[in-house]
């Protein structure tokens, strides 16, 4: 154990926890951010729904009765329905008819639909008709898939309102990777994916910027409050000082990111009606390739850890070149675009579908890797994740080495970085 490490870690944590700025940042930040995000997402959901209404719907009418014709006509009022006859949903999917008509939703009106509805209107109220909806769900990219199914649902509700309450019920299924998954609601899946593909990048982004801010402050504070010089003359390993600062920041950043995640899940819950909860038990998400396996989560965690470490070490190095807290915070601010860019871009884009030169840029930025990893572990592309970890770890080692070198020499005291304003430090000659 490094001499002094624990003492320094405890002191750093004490200081951090007593700093009102950090508590405010941990509570106020999520509180402001999530309503704003909620508004944005609400808008995105709305426009996705509008799009879905314009989309083509494949209808397999195996009933061919009065009621099914009526229902199809009703559907046609709000969506563009193409009627298929003499087939089953299974065959239609297998024949690739959905791709052919550029549609993502298929509705089957099973035989007996009209008969059931007739009996219902004749007074047998417990008899109802069911339609089967199959929505194409693709994990990567189209996070709003499944809205077609949701739209059909709402059309059915409208139909019920016009005819009789609860006469038509909708049974939702998904088409995942060309296979029909009975009983799996695609819109539920997409809310889950939504939370994965947006929550994670944003959380990573916040955590990284936040941690860098704290680390920079903690070094700059020692300079601003003139405690660093004393600290550097006591018989403790300089590396322990560095690690004490980095570790305490990791702990606080970890707590902060949990707060952020909780806030974020809360927000998602309010959007999707807590849908994610009722799903996990009924289907095997891992087998479907929709969520990472335990191994995947482990890799993701490792990737996150090294990225965090590299960001912290970089913040420590950068803040060592400034004389006060404000300067240090401004200094690490120059790194933020490198964090924001991949986080924002990779929410919507898939790195493998980019031109090679752009891919190279994304892979070169260490802060892209946990986000790339979060997608790769879902698809099972562990090699990309592991290579990313190796790269970020190497990057971290280089930065940590630079940081420990800096702490070992007088540069930590004398290094100053000024933006062209020379002569500021010149003492008045007497």
């Amino acid at each position: 154990m490094l001499k002094g490490f624990t003492t320094i870690l405890v002191k750093e944590l004490k200081e951090l926890m007593r700093d009102p700025k950090i508590l405010v940042g941990m509570i106020v930040l999520p509180l402001i951010m999530f309503p704003v995000l909620g508004l944005v997402m609400g808008y995105a959901v709305q426009s996705a729904q509008e799009q879905a209404q314009k989309a083509t719907l494949l209808v397999v009418d195996n009933d061919n009765g009065n009621w099914s014709t009526l229902f199809v006509r009703y559907v046609n009022n709000s969506m563009n329905a193409i009627i298929l006859n003499q087939t089953t949903p299974q065959t239609a999917v297998a024949e690739g008819l959905l791709q052919h008509y550029n549609s993502t939703t298929l509705v089957e009106i099973p035989a007996g639909f009209s008969a059931n509805l007739s009996r219902h209107s004749a007074g047998e109220l417990n008899i109802t008709g069911t339609i089967n909806v199959y929505s194409v769900f693709s994990g990567a990219g189209s996070i709003f898939s499944g809205f077609g199914g949701a739209v059909v649902s709402s059309i059915a509700t409208g139909f019920n309102r016009a005819v009789a309450p609860d006469v038509v019920s909708v049974y939702q299924s998904s088409i995942i990777k060309g296979q029909i998954q009975e009983g799996v609601d695609a819109s539920v899946l997409s809310s889950l994916m939504l939370s994965q593909s947006i929550a994670l990048p944003i959380t990573i982004m916040i955590m990284l910027t936040y941690a860098m801010q704290i680390a920079a402050t903690s070094v700059a504070m020692e300079k601003e409050e003139k405690t660093l010089e004393t600290l550097l003359t006591v018989p403790v390993d300089r590396f322990a000082i560095l690690m004490g600062k980095v570790s305490s920041t990791i702990i606080v950043a970890g707590v902060a990111s949990i707060t952020v995640l909780i806030g974020y899940n809360y927000m998602l819950g309010s959007i999707t009606g807590g849908i994610a909860g009722n799903i996990g038990s009924s289907i095997d998400m891992v087998a479907l390739g929709l969520v990472p396996s335990v191994w995947g989560y482990t890799l993701l965690g490792i990737s996150l850890f090294f990225t965090l470490l590299s960001a912290l070490a970089l913040a420590v190095v950068m803040s060592a070149f400034s004389e006060n807290v404000r300067g240090a915070q401004a200094m690490v601010g120059y790194i933020y675009p490198l964090i924001f860019l991949p986080a924002m871009a990779l929410i919507y884009l898939d790195v493998t579908s980019m031109p090679l030169a752009v891919q190279a840029i994304f892979f070169a930025i260490p802060y892209s890797h946990p986000i790339i990893a979060s997608k790769a572990v879902v698809t099972g592309d562990y090699l990309t994740v592991i290579l990313g970890i190796v790269y970020v770890a190497a990057f971290t080692i280089v930065i940590m080495y630079a940081a420990s070198r800096l702490f070992a020499t007088e540069k930590i005291l004398t290094a100053k970085f000024r933006f062209g304003k020379r002569g500021k430090a010149k003492e008045p000659s007497d």
Partner: protein, 243 residues
Amino acid sequence: MTLAVEASSLTKQFGQIKALDGVSFNINPGEIYGLIGPNGAGKTTTLRIICTLIKPTSGSINIFGQDATKQPEKTRQIISYLPEESGAYPNLTGWEYLEFMAKLQSTPETNIKAVIDEAAQICGLGDRLKDRAKTYSKGMKRRLLVARALMTRPKLAVLDEPASGLDVLHAYHIREIVKRYVKEHGVTVLLSSHNMLEVEYLCNRVALINKGKLVVEGEPKALKTRFNSENLEEVFAKVVGYA
């Protein structure tokens, strides 16, 4: 007998500025040695080199027989440094600050509690030690820091303007403590000061530094005689004026 401090031909270059230009002096164990000189003379730079914070551009520095440049870790175990500008962690209480520093300066045998109690005695802050350092006045902070520097009874205490910002009574109190520490605990003290009264009262020997060079050195009494002056202030004015 090993010298407490043996500085030979120290030079320090900061870019274009030559802060030190061949400074040599020796300090005996148990001595209180004072550095005086005008602003920018190189006092702080000298003390920082001795405390392993910066490395001399050339020259050598031995602390109790150890090369401070080559073995900074070992040197840090026997010294204690009070920087001229220094502070405490604003969000820690005075007591927590002392505890933190005591732990960092301790060996397994150290009785941390006793060390802190001693520091509490020296600084005389009483119950205010329970308050956070950001609520302290400048002088209170300084007293805390002086106490911190002395509490572990280092072999060599390096104090850069120890009494700066202290009121008359507390400056007096600190001087008494420095004297007592030297006498009772065999601490060697190297200090810098702008207060000639303080230097005359405390120091066994004084060195006057000007423009990075050690100009004169000697016992305060001897210097006064040599420059035919009433007090050290006059010596200072004459030497710096003529240099």
